[in-house]
């Protein structure tokens, strides 16, 4: 039932022709099965007796229940007889139409020649001439041009059928016969689906057979009334698609949103620039679901195919443009893009786009490229390697069709020949050449390059100022808003509230560097960090070591997924740099902003001249400003990731020794101390990343010096480092160790952590016992006295039993300190002795103002020592003024003198640049106290307010918060 039985081999089909004569065809084999027919290869004998091959189509519908009798006759049940008759009628019509078309001028060669139609076996047979060749389903065009020519030929034939008033409606490779040795001509066969173009109104429910993948949606939906020339237009588009991509198009290949991957066509290679644009345009007007969006006439499709043919021709020289894939997130850069557009609109041939690595130069140029590409005839994007000769001569990068290097010619000869060839194509056209990552020099090849007549953008790190060419410097994004937007885009979400503040700090940390921000954002997203965590990690380890997860990254048109340090190394390309220059960069990377003085750097590196430094500056690696050399945070980060060589370590050690010495020389002078401290901390931070350096003596020595000179508002840092240093006291100066204990005890007392302070004192005492230096002992007793003072908390005049005992202990400790300091030698002992004497004097003044003699004696002695040691302009001298002010407050009240000494001391403290907390403790609080004692409460209050205002400048720092609270307590007491 319904299973088709073909005629057997050598079956003879005998028919009567028009004149009544008998014709006989012999079946050789089945050539194919169609929906409505079976096709056989056969033959007949001509009058000479020779066999003439023919093709015989038997009307034998698949969808009917047809049986073949032994006689060869086809039978259907009675209920289907009318349907079989309809198919027979269709075959007769198809034959008639085909014959009519065959006789039409211009179609004879495009339509298979149907010889005759016969009736027999209760069906219809159509005999056609046999042709050598293959259908397009089996034929493989050799070139893309051949494929386009074949489709053009099909379009031409269908167009002529349309002009004759018919729709073909079954364009598919199986229905197209390719003649041997030509692609200019094809033959169509199978006209069973053809419909007249008029009279389609009654065809709303008319079901036309169609071939999957080659029929438009209106045909697939079976709505005959909506068919038109545009329906065949769709199929012609589908045919070209099939030949290009080896498959029929699907719904997602149609419409304005479809994207075509021309990288996967059957004939990959480099073609003329416009080819794929024109093919896409062809598909946009053929492969459309909506008929109105297609070419309405086949002639329009044929015209576009002719255009495509021109561009598919690879037998002529042409310049292949580069392809820049996809979109990139470009935020801001309006000024720079405007500058490039202005350059493009003007007449200058060359522009250099310069700036540091990873700042976004290439992204900017690619964005310009995308925006202007349609207005360019050719556009070539090259990545510089070696030299201009090598880069331009590289046929993989710059394809000039039909050009390749002759083994006999040198690279320079080929470069010149190629430029000459390009000149013929580029002259008078809008052709752009971009050379990215340019690291070469403007040698004699550069003018040769320009002779090609193209406009050239050179992307380079180097500063090209002074070369006579236009330069566009690309720096960080200028607006904070843009930097934030960039970050949001890379992070994949927007930030709000406190997170914005954290982001701004990160932006500041990388100086707004775009690549660094991109990597941070991706790392946060990929490592599921909160902004708070990310900020802490960035500040602690550097942004590149924030987390171990790999992040995605695009560079030079390729995608990578790697850890951030590896990405940075790849962007930077440090490994390609000369060793001497690498050494310079490594040394400069020790220093945070504002960098290192040039003379100092030269001495440190033992350079004979500034040549290397200048070259690095010109190449955009290093900045020189205000006599200092410094690196961008990103370049610093990259240098920190790089391995330390022995030479680099020697330089780092030398610098640490130098800085230790300088800090020591700075002593208690606060002027310039912060700058040195910052420099030293930057060096320490950098060296801490190397195990050998962080374990060496110089490192610990410098760290100790830094801690001792760090203002106590940074107590967190001090405590952390002190703990490390006190575990590693070997080889360190005992005096410095004691100062460190002193600092620790002081800070514990400030924090009211007296148990910890006692523990540190005990530890210090164990250390002191092993020392013979009186100074070390003196320092111990100073700290002990300081401890008692803190515990007493100013309760000198309310001597309960406990206070009295503590006070006595404090005085005893102070006296021991004076005793040991008097015996101590060395420069440091003098100021300490003065300080201890004045300290005792002030204690006595405050607790026993009636006994003025002893304080006066101590102040007098201190004054003498100050003059003798030339300490008048030091902190010891200022303490002397403060002691005198106390004296005239409580012992011999004299407001004028008090104000005079206070004014002097205040000016001195400020002139020293005394850190905030020290200024409050050493000047503001005692001065307010004195004013209160003198009955000048408003003045005392003003001073306390001044202190509180200073604390407000550091709203996030706990020591200042604590201090403010203390000042407010005084303020309340004042007005009680």
């Amino acid at each position: 039932m319904g299973e088709r039985t073909p005629l057997g081999q050598n079956t003879e089909l005998r028919f009567r022709n028009h004149e009544g004569g008998e014709v006989c065809y012999v079946i050789r084999n089945v050539a194919g099965y169609g929906g409505t027919c079976m096709v056989y290869d056969g033959y007949y004998r001509n009058t000479t007796g020779a066999r003439k091959a023919v093709r015989i189509k038997e009307c034998y519908p698949y969808c009917l229940t047809v049986t073949r009798e032994k006689s060869g006759e086809l039978r259907v049940p009675e209920r289907e007889e009318h349907r079989l008759e309809a198919f027979r009628l269709q075959a007769r019509e198809s034959f008639a139409i085909s014959n009519e078309l065959y006789r039409t001028a211009g179609l004879s060669n495009s339509i298979s020649n149907l010889l005759d139609l016969y009736e027999g076996n209760n069906t219809v047979y159509i005999v056609s001439s046999y042709m050598e060749g293959n259908t397009l389903a089996e034929y493989e065009p050799e070139t893309l041009l051949d494929a386009v020519k074949l489709v053009s030929s099909v379009a031409g034939s269908i167009g002529r059928i349309h002009r004759k008033g018919y729709l073909y409606l079954d364009v598919k490779p199986e229905n197209i016969f390719v003649l041997p040795e030509t692609v200019e001509l094809v033959q169509l066969f199978d006209f069973d689906s053809m419909l007249p173009m008029i009279r389609r109104e009654g065809l709303k429910e008319y079901r036309i057979s169609y071939s999957e993948g080659f029929a438009p949606v209106e045909q697939k939906k079976g709505d005959g009334s909506r068919l038109g020339a545009f329906s065949d237009v769709y199929s012609v588009g589908a045919l070209l698609f099939f030949l290009l991509f080896g498959r029929a198009p699907r719904a997602y290949d149609c419409g304005g949103q479809a994207e075509y991957d021309f990288g996967s066509i059957n004939w990959p290679g480099c073609y003329q620039d416009s080819l794929f644009f024109e093919i896409t345009d062809f598909f946009r007007h053929t492969l459309q679901s909506y008929p109105d969006d297609r070419y309405q006439e086949m002639e329009e499709a044929a015209r576009q195919l002719a255009v495509i043919q021109r561009y598919a021709d690879r037998s002529i020289p042409y310049l292949c443009s580069s392809v820049i894939p996809g979109q990139e997130t470009v935020i801001g850069r309006d000024r720079e893009l405007g500058a490039l557009s202005e350059w493009w609109a003007g007449g200058e041939q060359v522009i250099f786009v310069s700036g540091m690595g990873g700042i976004g130069k290439s992204t900017l140029v690619r964005q310009f490229w995308r925006a202007h590409r349609e207005r360019m005839d050719h556009a070539v994007y090259l990545y510089f390697h070696g030299s201009l000769c090598e880069t331009v001569g590289d046929d993989d990068q710059l394809v000039l069709n039909l050009y390749e290097k002759n083994p006999a010619e040198t690279g320079r000869e080929y470069f010149k020949r190629k430029i000459k060839g390009i000149r013929k194509l580029a002259a008078g056209t809008a052709t752009l050449l971009v050379i990215d990552n340019f690291e070469g020099s403007l040698d004699e090849d550069f003018p040769v390059l320009l002779r090609a007549g193209w406009r050239v953008i050179v992307v380079t790190r180097a500063d090209m100022e002074g070369t006579g060419y236009r330069q566009l410097r690309v720096g960080e994004l200028s607006s904070q808003e843009e930097l934030r937007e960039l970050f949001f885009a890379k992070l994949g979400r927007r930030l709000e509230g406190a997170e914005i503040g954290q982001l701004d700090r990160m932006v500041e940390g990388v100086a707004g560097h775009t690549l660094a921000l991109e990597l941070i954002a991706k790392q946060i997203a990929g490592s599921y960090l909160t902004m708070g965590q990310a900020l802490a990690l960035t500040e602690q380890k550097g942004f590149s070591e924030m987390a171990p997860e790999r992040v995605g990254f695009h560079k030079d048109g390729r995608s990578y997924c790697a850890r951030v340090p590896a990405i940075l190394q790849s962007v930077c390309g440090l490994e390609r740099m000369a060793e001497e220059k690498q050494r310079v960069l490594k040394a400069v990377s020790l220093f945070d902003m504002p960098g290192i003085a040039l003379a100092e750097l030269k001495a440190l590196l033992e350079l004979e001249s500034f040549d290397e430094i200048n070259e690095l500056r010109e190449e955009g690696w290093l900045y020189v400003q205000g006599g200092n050399a410094w690196l961008h945070p990103l370049i610093r980060e990259i240098n920190h990731q790089g391995a330390w060589k022995a030479g680099d370590r020697r330089i780092a050690i030398r610098e640490m020794e130098l800085l230790s010495q300088r800090l020591r020389l700075t002593g208690q002078e606060t002027k310039g101390r912060m700058g040195r401290l910052s420099q030293a901390r930057s060096v320490l931070n950098c060296c801490s990343k190397d195990r050998k350096l962080s374990g060496c003596h110089s490192y610990k020595k410098l760290l100790l010096a830094v801690v001792l000179h760090t203002p106590r508002d940074q107590e967190k840092y001090i405590m952390a480092q002190a703990a490390f240093l006190l575990r590693h006291t070997d080889g360190q100066n005992p005096k410095d160790i004691m100062k460190l204990y002193d600092y620790m005890v002081y800070l514990y007392c400030q924090r009211q952590e007296f148990a910890s302070a006692r523990s540190s004192l005990a530890s210090a005492f164990r250390f002191v016992k092993a020392q013979s230096d009186p100074f070390v002992h003196g320092v111990y007793y100073e700290m002990l006295g300081g401890y008692y003072d803190s515990v007493l908390d100013g309760a000198y005049c309310l001597p309960g039993r406990r206070e009295k005992r503590l006070f006595e202990k404090m005085l005893a400790a102070n006296r021991k300190a004076i005793y040991f300091m008097e015996q101590a030698k060395g420069e440091e002992a003098g100021p300490c002795l003065i300080k201890d004497m004045l300290g005792e004097a002030m204690l006595l003044i405050r607790c026993r103002p009636e006994g003025a003699e002893e304080p006066r004696r101590l102040i007098h002695m201190a004054g003498r020592l100050i003059r003798r040691q030339g300490q008048k302009e030091t902190q010891a001298g200022t303490a002397y003024d403060m002691a005198r002010a106390w004296y005239y407050t409580l012992c011999e009240p004299n407001q004028a003198l008090v104000r005079r000494y206070l004014k002097k001391a205040g000016e001195a403290y400020r002139a020293f640049g005394t850190p905030g907390l020290d200024y409050i403790d050493d000047y503001i609080v005692p001065a307010a106290n004195m004013m209160c004692e003198l009955g000048e409460e408003p003045e005392a209050s003003r001073l306390l307010e001044e202190g509180a205002a200073r604390c407000d400048s550091f709203p996030d720092m706990i020591p200042y918060i604590r201090k403010k609270r203390e000042l407010m307590g005084y303020q309340r007491e004042l007005w009680k």
Binding site: E259, Q288, S289
Partner: protein, 398 residues
Amino acid sequence: MGKYTDFLTDKSYAISDEEDYMEELKKAAELFRTFDGALDTFLAEHGYLGQLGDVEAKLGFLEQKLEAAGIDAPRNMKKWFTEHKRIERRTAFLICFAFGLRVEEVGDFFRRICLMRSFDCHDMEEAVYYYAFRHGLNYGEARGIVDRLPLVKAGRLDTKDVIYTRHLMKEVEQIDSVEALVAYLTEHAGKFGYNNATAYQAVRIVWEQLASPQGLAIRERRKLYAGFDMEEPKTGEPRGRKERKRSEDSIWEIYLQILGLAGSQAAPFYKNRSIKPILRENPFLHPFAEESFPDRDGLTKILNGEHISYERVRKIMILLVFYRFWVDRALKENHYSAGYGDADRCLASMDDFLTDAGYPALYPGNPYDFVILFAIHAETPLLTFRDFMRELYFAAEV
């Protein structure tokens, strides 16, 4: 097109012009015929001469047809008419066999009467039925072939070696004998472990266009999308953990965006990442539309190549193609209004996707399709669809 379809098509045009379109949609939802209503039309077209309101007579007619074709009558047939129950695919095939339908008629029966796709040749049983209807085999003969075939379980779709339904149909069409069919099906049993391959491929490609880093959805989110946010945001209040975890390129977030529900209002659905509570028994949504409504889970399964029902795939595909079309236009034009011919353009594209996947074209008699058609014909199709979804949200009072 039948009168019913014409009526609903006109309705889908007219509603978008209405001021209070939600009420109109609600009324329209009541107009959709039930399965038994559609079956009545079918019976009348195929020889039933009795009263359409006479359930017993219709049952008798159906039983007689089934019996004549040697098919046992399905259970609970009466409930089709008394409780408006829908039927399963197998039952639908039984009716087709009973009425001796031709291949094209089977397709129509599935599309118009059952609101289902026709033959799915990735199902071995349906491939046999396809062969049987083409060759006029009766049900018994068809079952005889099915019984000779190996058992195949539904598996994960491997996109690397996929055989599309159309291709399988073509192969089946080339087979001229039962023996050849059995041999072919047995030999290629591996091709029958999955279905909807064309649709899966299409959904994945469209999804890639929407959800890639520079995709349409991401671009819309940054450029045009107005979030479904609380009317009065509680400023200064720390955002919840769930809200912070939002990533604009997640399937759930884009899914919500397509529906117009992405925003702080949608927070209650984050836990289960499902909008079922909005859809369930919503007065504005017909139960047929609610059934297999596009969901995040279904979308994820398609992207992972996991099997889901035909109806779910089709609805997801319609939603994505609808969104892709209109968001692409919106991004190009910088506004959401439809241009001249855009509605027809969208319909053509939609039908192309559906027919390409072997699914019925958009059919206004299908309540889900009706909503999409109604939106397509609006002045701002995407916004209208989103407004509809938001109205569903408010009507659901979640």
